[in-house]
Amino acid sequence: MDNLYQAIFKGLAPLAKTAVQESLDNGKTPQDIIDESMIPAMEAIGQEFEAGRVFVPNLLLSARAMKSALDILKPLMIAGQTTTLGTVVIGTVKGDLHDIGKNLVASMLEGRGFKVINLGTDVSKERFIEAAKENNADIICLSALLTTTMDYMKEVVEAVRADGLDIKVMVGGAPLNAEFAASIGADGYSSNANEAVQVAKKLLS
């Protein structure tokens, strides 16, 4: 495995910056660097998390290293010549201000090749739909940490369907479960950030 892969897997942001520059100097394209080193490293740390060998902070460190490397690559990417797995609009639903879990999911999705539009917290159904349309999104991701706000997810799902949008809706958050997700008509549910990536990939496959 190359230096960039190692730096991201181990969550070493300064090393990731150096390594991505080395890869560019060696003539690799941004897309090759992302596909061959960065995404595989994020997938590997995700698998370690699923196996219980690393913890949430390790995922976050890797996501932070990935972001620092992406910040170097983004200005070099030519619109239309880079590929993403899809576009995700993500936010914490109206009435709820919790954002740690949602931001982790956003980082993991970005780290694994999705374009992510993070709307923040206290997001209305109108804002979700507006952002989805503006960005031609494939998936809307909804987060909630309160039992009082998770019911708003149903309103968002219904609004998306009523608008006739061909967009998948994923939900997550501590008080939710798969049964709740199914009951509100969501297309997917995940209990953690790594699983969210797998669910998103599956929804678009």
Partner: protein, 220 residues
């Protein structure tokens, strides 16, 4: 009604509790992460002023699901009510890591460092819990005191937080309670301790609760 504000030194904040809040349970984080935790404790804790308010009121168990406290009916449901046999009074409390901590955490967020955000969030959770521990130390009574119970836990509807807040002055400890029962500052806690001479203090609820699917289970 008792209301207090206090500060703690970074050394008084148990790092292991922060690790636990970060999801480590019984594991020890690697040195790099322990160092980040220590650094953020030293940065954030001196800025925090913790606050709490409490009062002791008459209370009784009405049914296997309901209690009356200070003349108001609450429905903490079966899990909590099963621990309240012998309750004659209740210590109603609200505590918070405070606006100062909230502002320090927000300032940190501006640096766009997701790792620091996560650790700071965990530190805030521990600080809020410390106010509950301080209330328990503070209270001097001859009755047995139960574990603390909070709306939102053990099937107790979080919306009953509004009834609890109605028994305190407006914006207790500076906390704003939203329509969706969200407390701001986010790192705030509310609930009650049951009091009673014949009350049996139970172990921490998750240790004896049979609801293994509970999303707030701490020893799962």
């Amino acid at each position: 009604m008792v209301e207090r504000a206090f500060q703690i030194s970074p050394e008084e904040l148990p790092e292991k509790e922060v690790w636990f809040a970060m999801g480590y349970k019984d594991s020890v984080p690697e040195e790099r992460i322990r160092g980040m935790v220590r650094e953020l404790i030293c940065e954030l804790v001196p800025k925090a002023t913790l606050r709490y308010i409490y009062q002791v009121v008459e209370a009784e168990k009405l049914s296997p699901r309901q209690v009356r406290m200070a003349g108001k009916t609450f429905t903490p449901e079966g899990i909590i009510c099963s621990y309240l046999q012998g309750m004659t009074h209740a210590l109603l409390f609200i505590g918070s890591a405070g606006w100062e901590f909230d502002r320090a955490k927000e300032a940190l967020k501006a640096k766009d460092d997701i790792v620091a955000d996560f650790i700071a969030d965990s530190i805030g959770s521990v600080l809020a819990e410390m106010t509950v521990a301080r209330i328990e130390q503070d209270y001097v009574g001859k009755e047995t005191i139960s574990m603390p119970y909070s709306p939102g836990y053990c099937n107790w509807d979080i919306r009953e937080q509004h009834i609890l807040f109605s028994l305190f002055p407006e914006r207790p400890c500076g906390i704003i309670l939203s329509e969706s029962s969200l407390m701001t500052p986010e790192k705030s806690v509310s609930g009650f301790f049951a009091l009673g001479e014949t009350l049996q203090r139970q172990p921490y609820h998750c240790q004896i609760c049979k609801n293994t699917k509970c999303f707030k289970r701490r020893n799962a």
